[in-house]
């Protein structure tokens, strides 16, 4: 069983499903545990979208309140992350729009996600991932970092499966453009 699925057979860690069920019955500690489990991840996703610490904190707070409002009666249809990704992204984008309206500034133009990017010369895999266009990086991290299946990534990001595949293909193509990155990726010497 994959660790990301939070199996029930672990001695200490209750599954997400059982925590949700307990929270639905009014168990605050269960929701606190869910929050503790996903807090850093929500912050990370929010920060990747906003690239602003304070906005990421605001997003986390709003997402938690939104999630809290779903109880009792919250139905966990898939993974918690599949539910949370669109919530975090929408909230983060709304905060960015709000800031843009408030400051009269335009959002920085992101690199287009549908074009290949050359990462040649970037020896460090972490830096290379950070330099990927946001859409490609998000797909890469959700799939390989968070363990979501491609179809789940498509649902979470609300984009077609083909777009997920092409973005992942472009990200991997960029990573393999450098021999050192390729070795780091595959774990070779």
């Amino acid at each position: 069983m994959d660790e990301r699925d939070r199996p029930t057979d672990a001695d200490a860690e209750p599954s997400d499903g059982s925590l949700v069920a307990r929270a639905n019955r009014g168990d605050r500690a269960a929701f606190e545990q869910l929050y503790g489990r996903y807090r850093d991840w929500i912050l990370a996703v929010a920060y990747r979208v906003t690239e602003d610490r304070d906005l990421a904190f605001d997003v986390l707070q709003e997402v938690v309140v939104y999630w809290l409002g779903k109880f009792p009666g919250f139905v966990l249809a898939g993974k918690v992350k599949t539910f949370l990704v669109p919530v975090v992204r929408h909230t983060a984008l709304e905060h960015l729009r709000r800031r843009r309206r408030g400051q009269g500034l335009e959002l920085p133009e992101a690199l287009p996600d549908d074009r290949p990017v050359s990462l040649a010369g970037v020896a460090d895999l972490e830096s290379a991932v950070a330099r990927l266009p946001p859409g490609q990086r998000e797909v890469l991290l959700l799939h390989f970092g968070d363990g979501l299946a491609l179809a789940e990534v498509a649902v979470a990001l609300e984009i077609p499966l083909g777009t997920v595949k092409s973005r992942l293909g472009l990200a991997l193509a960029a990573l393999r453009s450098d021999g050192r990155l390729r070795r780091a990726w595959l774990g070779g010497s």
Binding site: Y47, R48, V64, V65, R101, Q103, L141, G145
Partner: protein, 299 residues
């Protein structure tokens, strides 16, 4: 599956693009043909054609770390979130009586009282806490038995009968405690000149979750001061639309809505209030007009 339907054999990469192409010659006429390989990644096996494939253990660990790599949450923020969770669960759910039957019996008794009092009931808001408790109890039953089970539960039937029999409450507050969202219009009163700019600081006992425009020519969402917001102060300002089709004059009565804010308020929070206001008419002159907050009814 490579998206080429099994056609072609030799794969080549388009220079610098990262795309893989297969090439072949059509059997019918020998014409050269090619197809771009659509990457199709599998969890367990690396894909063909030299694509990079899934990451190794080290890279997977790195990506897992990157996926949760974000800024450290300050203690003040952490405390605010725990307070929100506490408010959401502590007040709203843990105070639900464990005895569902007791509440059902109380609801039936309430039904009898309501039926007895009939139209003589003059202060319906007095029963609002009982209504809220009944709603919470139905929620608890639904959480316990699921939606289908709750629908056939006699306790729910009894509670619903009581609810249906109750007179409507014209000024009822939200039945379930905890955070709620309210809209407040910022209305300028007593204008005798066209308003050229406005600025206001408002005391809000909760986070502002939305800023909307007002009536023309203040249709653009109001600006806010992010630096002040970071210190907990809410300072809003606005200008009329930059290119009005015709000069605007204050409407009859001198009242114009310049913005609307949406606020999230905790249960029992005080009402927002205007702390400071500055209204300017053309040429920078001041006006005696005033700005007030008006809570908009949701219905």
């Amino acid at each position: 599956m490579d998206g080429c339907g099994g056609r072609g054999s030799a794969a080549r990469e388009e220079e610098g693009s990262g795309w893989i192409f297969r090439t072949w010659r059509e059997p019918a006429d020998g014409a050269a043909a090619s197809c771009r390989v659509e990457p199709d990644f599998h969890e367990s096996s690396p894909p063909a054609d030299g694509l990079l494939g899934p990451p190794g253990p080290e890279a997977r660990r790195l990506l897992g770390r990157l996926a949760v790599s974000g800024p450290a949450l300050p203690a003040r923020r952490e405390a605010a979130i725990h307070e929100a969770i506490h408010a959401g669960f502590g007040r709203r759910r843990q105070q639900v009586s464990p005895s569902s039957w007791w509440v059902a019996a109380a609801a039936v008794a309430l039904l009898a009282v309501v039926a007895f009092l009939g139209e003589r009931w003059t202060r319906p808001t007095e029963i609002e806490p009982s209504l809220a408790l009944a709603v919470r109890q139905v929620e608890a039953i639904a959480a316990e038995r699921g939606p289908d089970g709750a629908a056939s539960d006699p306790r729910v039937t009894a509670i619903l009968m009581a609810l249906v029999a109750m007179p409507p409450s014209p000024d009822a507050r939200p039945l379930v405690g905890g955070p709620r969202f309210e809209r407040y219009d910022l209305v300028v009163d007593g204008l005798d000149h066209a308003l050229a700019a406005w600025r206001a600081e408002i005391d809000v006992p909760g986070p502002i979750v939305g800023i909307e425009g007002g009536d023309p020519p203040f249709g653009e969402p109001a600006r806010y001061d992010p630096a002040a917001l970071a210190t907990g102060r809410v300072i809003l300002a606005g200008l009329p639309d930059p290119t009005p089709t015709k000069p605007w004059a204050p409407p009859a009565g001198g009242e114009v809505r310049v913005a609307t804010v949406v606020v999230r308020l905790a249960d029992g929070a005080s009402e927002p209030a205007v702390a400071d206001v500055e209204l300017l008419v053309p040429h920078g002159a001041r006006t005696g007009a005033t700005l007030r907050l008006h809570r908009r009814d949701t219905e």
